[in-house]
C-alpha cells in the first residue's frame, strides 16, 4: 500500500528521517518495500498484518516501535464509546447474517457538499487517489488513515417512514444493483448486500461498493455514514466473483477488528463536521457480539529458546512497550494484551516473532546444529537414480528434464493456463523422441557424433495390474539415442538394491564456473580439406583458420585425416553462427574464401 511520509509525520512531533531511512527500517523489522518514490513508500503489507497495517496509523505505529520515537497519543484511541453513545431512533439497523459482525450508521443533517480543503485533497492525491468531494474524501481519508472502510449514503434518496431502515442480508439470486460508476452487477445468494428495507432496494454491496441510487451528489444535505465489519472470506469471494476489487474489499478481506468500526465512525464524523458542517443526529450501532480481548502469555526463556538468543526480561518488555502492548509480569510469565486491531497476536510464537523482528534478526547468532545422534538414512530412489545417472553418463548419455505435461495420459489437470497439454505424461518416450530430434539438428554445433540423452522422471502410466488404479506415480528412466532408439524402464529395475550400511558414494558434481548464453539463430556448416606437407602442425592450421574466420566461427573440428605419399590430408568441419542475426550463405562463402586464401598463401593445397 502507498504510504506518504508527510502523512506519517502527523503521528510524530519529532521530524521523521528521510523516506529511504524509513524504507530500510521497515524492511528489516516488518515489511518489504516495493518502491520509494519521492516521499511515498509502497509497502508490501504481509497477509497476517492486513488487519492493522493497511493504513498510515498502522505503519506509523510500527515506525514508532522500530525507531523508538514517541507517538502522539491518538484521539481515536480512547473515549470512542462516549461519542457513539448519542443514539438515534431515526435509523433502524438490522443484521440478518452472522457474516456481518457490526454495523454502525451515523446520521448527519445539513451537510454542505463541496470541494475538499487543500490539506485533504493533497493527502488523498499524494497516495494516488482522486479527490471527489469533501464528504467522500473524508471517508477515504479515514480508511487510508486508520484502516476502516466507510461509505456515505444520501439520506434524501432513502425511503423514510417513522425512521430509515437499513438491513444487511444475503442477496437473492438474480438481484442487481447499479454502482456509483454506472455498472450493473447481478448477485448470487452467496453475496452480502446492504438494503433500504422500506424500498426493498439494494443500496450497497457489503464491504465492496455503494449503489448509484443512494450516492452523494451536490444536492445532498443529509447523510447516513456506514462503518461496518464484514466477514473477510465472504467479501473476498464476492469481489472475486463480481470482478470488483476495491480499497474497501481489499481491507475487509484481510479481516478487520469489529472494534475498529467505532473508531472509524468517530473519525469520519469529526472530519465531516469540520469540513462540511452539519449536525450529528446520532448513531445506530448493531453489535451483536462485541469482540473479546485476547491475552497471550510468554516467558523470556521461551523467546530465547526459539530464537537462540540471550535476551533479558527488560529487552522483551522494551519491545512490548514500544509496540503499545500492555503487559503484566506474573512470575516468569509475561501476560500480554495487544491492541484490539492486532488480530494476528494469538499464540506465544506470535510474540516471539514480535520480539525477534523488533530486536532485529541481525541479533540472532549463527549457530550450527549439534551433531545428529543417528546417522541419516539413505534414500532408495535417490540412491538408485544416482547410480543410473553415473552409468548412463559414463556411456556418453546426457541428462535432460522434459515437461510432465503431455497431450494424452491417464490423469490430467483441470485448469492449465492456455489449456494445452493438460495431461500428465504416461511415458517419457514421446518427450524424449521429440527432444532427440531437436538436438540432432544441432549435432555439428555441439560437435558430437551421436546424440545420446536420458531422463529420470515421474510418469503416471496405465496400470498393467488390475488391482492397481491407472495413473499411479512411478519413477522411470528413459533413454534415447540415434542408434539405439528410445526406451524406458522402471527405476527399480535398473539399479542395484540399496545397502543402508554402504550409503551414498561421493560422486563428481559439475565443475562448470559460468554458463555461456548460446545464439538462438541458425548456424551454417562448411567443410574444408587440404593437403599439408609432412611436418606441418595441425594446430597451426587450425589457428590460421580461427584467426581468419573470427568470432562467427563457433565450432571447428578435424573430422578426417590420412597420409598419402608423404603428404597429410586434413578435413575440418567449420560451424558459423551469429549472436544477433541469421547468417546468409553469402557470408559463410565469403569467410570460406578468406580462409582458403589464407591457407593457400601459406602454401597449403586446398582439395
Amino acid at each position: 500500500m502507498k504510504i506518504s511520509r508527510d502523512w506519517l509525520q502527523t503521528y510524530f512531533e519529532k521530524e521523521l528521517p528521510d523516506a529511504s531511512v524509513l524504507a530500510e527500517a521497515l524492511t528489516f523489522h516488518v515489511f518489504e518495500i516495493e518502491s520509494v518514490e519521492g516521499d511515498v513508500l509502497d509497502v508490501k503489507v504481509t497477509p497476517n498484518r492486513g488487519h492493522d497495517c493497511l493504513c498510515h496509523y498502522g505503519i506509523a505505529k510500527e515506525l514508532s516501535a522500530i525507531l523508538n520515537v514517541p507517538f502522539i497519543p491518538q484521539k481515536h484511541e480512547n473515549g470512542v464509546e462516549d461519542m457513539l453513545s448519542k443514539k438515534t431512533d431515526a435509523i433502524v439497523v438490522s443484521i440478518n447474517n452472522p457474516l456481518c459482525k457490526r454495523y454502525i450508521a451515523g446520521y448527519l443533517k445539513g451537510v454542505k457538499i463541496g470541494h475538499s480543503p487543500e490539506w485533504l485533497r493533497k493527502r488523498i492525491e499524494a497516495i494516488g487517489q482522486k479527490s471527489i468531494n469533501n464528504v467522500v474524501d473524508a471517508t477515504n481519508y479515514v480508511m487510508f488513515n486508520i484502516g476502516q472502510p466507510l461509505h456515505v449514503f444520501d439520506a434524501g434518496k432513502l425511503k423514510k417512514q417513522e425512521s430509515y431502515a437499513i438491513s444487511v442480508r444475503m442477496a437473492k439470486k438474480g438481484e442487481a444493483m447499479l454502482t456509483l460508476d454506472d455498472k450493473e452487477y447481478t448477485f448470487t445468494d452467496a453475496m452480502m448486500v446492504i438494503t433500504d428495507m422500506h424500498a426493498d432496494a439494494i443500496i450497497g454491496i457489503a464491504g465492496i461498493k455503494g449503489g448509484k441510487m443512494s450516492g452523494v451528489d451536490e444536492g445532498t444535505t443529509d447523510i447516513i455514514l456506514e462503518a461496518a465489519n464484514f466477514d473477510g472470506v465472504s467479501v473476498r469471494r464476492a469481489a472475486q466473483a463480481l470482478k470488483l476489487r476495491t480499497d474497501a474489499s481489499e481491507r475487509f478481506q484481510q479481516v478487520l477488528s469489529s472494534g475498529l468500526a467505532g473508531y472509524g465512525m468517530r473519525a469520519a464524523v469529526e472530519i465531516i463536521q469540520e469540513i462540511a458542517g452539519g449536525e450529528l443526529v446520532g448513531f445506530a450501532d448493531e453489535y451483536p457480539e462485541p469482540e473479546e480481548e485476547r491475552s497471550v502469555s510468554i516467558s523470556v526463556a521461551q523467546i530465547n529458546q526459539a530464537l537462540g538468543t540471550s535476551l533479558s526480561e527488560s529487552d522483551t518488555i522494551d519491545v512490548f512497550t514500544r509496540l503499545g502492548f500492555s503487559y503484566e509480569a506474573r512470575g516468569r510469565e509475561i501476560s500480554v494484551l495487544a491492541p484490539f486491531e492486532r488480530l494476528d497476536i494469538v499464540i506465544p510464537e506470535d510474540l516471539i516473532e514480535e520480539v525477534g523482528r523488533l530486536v532485529g534478526y541481525d541479533k540472532v547468532p549463527s549457530t550450527e546444529l549439534p551433531v545428529f545422534p543417528r546417522s541419516p538414512e539413505t534414500n532408495e530412489n535417490f540412491y538408485r537414480s544416482e547410480h543410473v545417472r553415473e552409468d548412463l553418463m559414463s556411456d556418453g548419455y546426457s541428462e535432460v528434464y522434459t515437461s510432465v505435461f503431455a497431450n494424452s495420459g491417464e490423469r490430467a489437470v483441470v485448469n492449465k493456463v492456455g489449456g494445452e497439454q493438460s495431461y500428465l505424461r504416461k511415458s517419457l518416450i514421446p518427450g524424449l523422441e521429440e527432444t532427440l530430434k531437436r538436438n540432432i539438428r544441432n549435432k555439428d554445433l555441439l560437435g558430437i557424433s551421436e546424440v545420446r540423452i536420458f531422463e529420470i522422471g515421474t510418469i503416471w502410466p496405465a496400470s498393467s495390474n488390475k488391482s492397481e488404479h491407472d495413473g499411479k506415480e512411478e519413477i522411470v528412466v528413459g533413454i534415447a539415442s540415434e542408434k539405439e532408439g528410445t526406451s524406458e524402464r522402471s527405476l527399480k529395475d535398473m539399479a542395484p538394491v540399496l545397502s543402508q550400511e554402504v550409503g551414498y558414494e561421493e560422486l563428481p558434481v559439475s565443475a562448470t564456473e559460468r554458463y555461456q548464453p548460446f545464439s538462438r539463430y541458425p548456424f551454417i556448416v562448411r567443410d574444408i580439406a587440404m593437403w599439408i606437407p609432412g611436418g606441418v602442425d595441425e594446430n597451426e592450421v587450425l589457428g590460421l583458420i580461427q584467426r581468419e574466420a573470427g568470432e562467427l566461427l563457433v565450432h571447428e573440428a578435424l573430422f578426417d585425416r590420412f597420409e598419402k605419399d608423404g603428404k597429410v590430408s586434413l578435413a575440418f568441419r567449420l560451424v558459423f553462427q551469429s549472436f544477433d542475426r541469421t547468417l546468409t550463405d553469402e557470408e559463410a562463402n565469403q569467410h570460406m574464401k578468406g580462409i582458403q586464401a589464407t591457407l593457400e598463401s601459406k602454401g597449403l593445397e586446398i582439395r
Binding site: 549463527s366 549457530t367 489437470v413 493456463v417 538436438n439 558434481v509 559460468r514
Partner: protein, 243 residues
C-alpha cells in the same frame, strides 16, 4: 564416447544432499500429486486462503481434493508421520529436493514446473540461530572459497512462526563479479508453526523446529549465471552440455 553431461539441477541436488547429509539430514521425498490435506491443511493454510485459488494451483481432473504439489513442504508432515509410525521420535532432520508446480504463464523467470529444496530440523532445542548456522554452512560449502553472510528479514508464511526471508551475500575475490558483495534473496524460512507439528503428531510443547524452502532453479541460475529459467526444462544440449 565422451562422458555425458549432468543436468545442472541434478548436480546441485547431488551437492546439496552431500552437504546436508554431513549435517545429519536425510533425503526424503513425497508424491507429486498431493492431497490438499498435505499440501495445505496440515501446513496451517486456511481453507479459504488465496494460494488455493485455481489460478495458482493445478487441480487434478475428476479427483476433488488433489493437486500438483505447490511446494515441497507437504513432505514435512508426511515424513514426521512416517517416523512416528516407525516409533522414531525427534530429533528429525530432512531435506526434500523435488519438483513443484504453480499454475502460471512462463517467462524468463517463471516456470509452471520447477525445483525446490525443503529443509526441516525438529528437536527439543532447535532454534532460529540454528537455521542461520545451517544455511551459512550450506552456502559456504556450495560457494567454495567465498565468505558467506546470511541475513534474515521478517516475512509471513502460514506454516512458520516467526517467518523470515533469507538473503545471502558472497564476499571475496573468488566470487564471480555479478554475485560479489550483493545481497540476494534466497528463500523463505522460519520456525515451524506449532499447528504443523501438532498436525504431524509431534508435541509442540516439547519440540520445536526450523524449516526452509529454496528454489533450486533460481539457485542454479545464480550459481552459473543462467539467464532464462525455461532452459531448465528445454532439454537442449546447447544448455546441458555446458555442465
Amino acid at each position: 564416447m565422451d562422458r555425458g553431461h549432468m543436468h545442472p539441477i541434478s548436480s546441485l541436488i547431488r551437492e546439496a544432499n552431500s552437504i546436508f547429509h554431513n549435517m545429519g539430514f536425510t533425503f526424503a521425498e513425497g508424491p507429486l500429486i498431493e492431497s490438499e490435506w498435505y499440501n495445505f491443511d496440515t501446513l496451517n493454510v486456511p481453507k479459504d486462503h488465496p494460494a488455493r485459488d485455481m489460478q495458482d494451483t493445478f487441480y487434478i481432473k475428476d479427483e476433488p481434493g488433489y493437486v500438483l504439489r505447490t511446494h515441497t513442504s507437504p513432505v514435512q508432515v508426511r515424513y514426521m508421520e512416517g517416523e512416528a509410525k516407525k516409533g522414531n521420535t525427534p530429533p528429525y532432520r530432512v531435506i526434500v529436493p523435488g519438483k513443484v508446480f504453480r499454475n502460471e504463464a512462463t517467462d524468463m523467470t517463471h516456470e509452471a514446473e520447477f525445483y525446490q529444496i525443503e529443509g526441516l530440523a525438529v528437536g527439543e532445542d532447535v532454534t532460529l540461530a540454528n537455521l542461520k548456522g545451517t544455511l551459512a554452512r550450506f552456502f559456504k560449502e556450495l560457494f567454495k572459497n567465498a565468505n558467506v553472510e546470511i541475513r534474515f528479514r521478517p516475512s509471513f508464511f502460514p506454516f512458520t512462526e516467526p517467518s523470515v526471508e533469507v538473503d545471502m551475500r558472497l564476499v571475496g575475490e573468488n566470487v564471480p563479479e555479478k554475485l560479489r558483495d550483493k545481497w540476494i534473496e534466497m528463500m523463505g524460512a522460519g520456525m515451524v508453526h506449532p499447528n504443523v507439528l501438532k498436525n504431524a503428531g509431534v508435541d509442540p510443547k516439547k519440540y520445536r523446529g526450523f524449516a526452509f524452502g529454496m528454489g533450486l532453479d533460481r539457485l542454479a541460475m545464480l550459481r552459473w549465471g543462467i539467464d532464462d529459467i525455461r532452459l531448465m526444462h528445454s532439454a537442449d544440449l546447447r544448455f546441458i552440455n555446458q555442465f
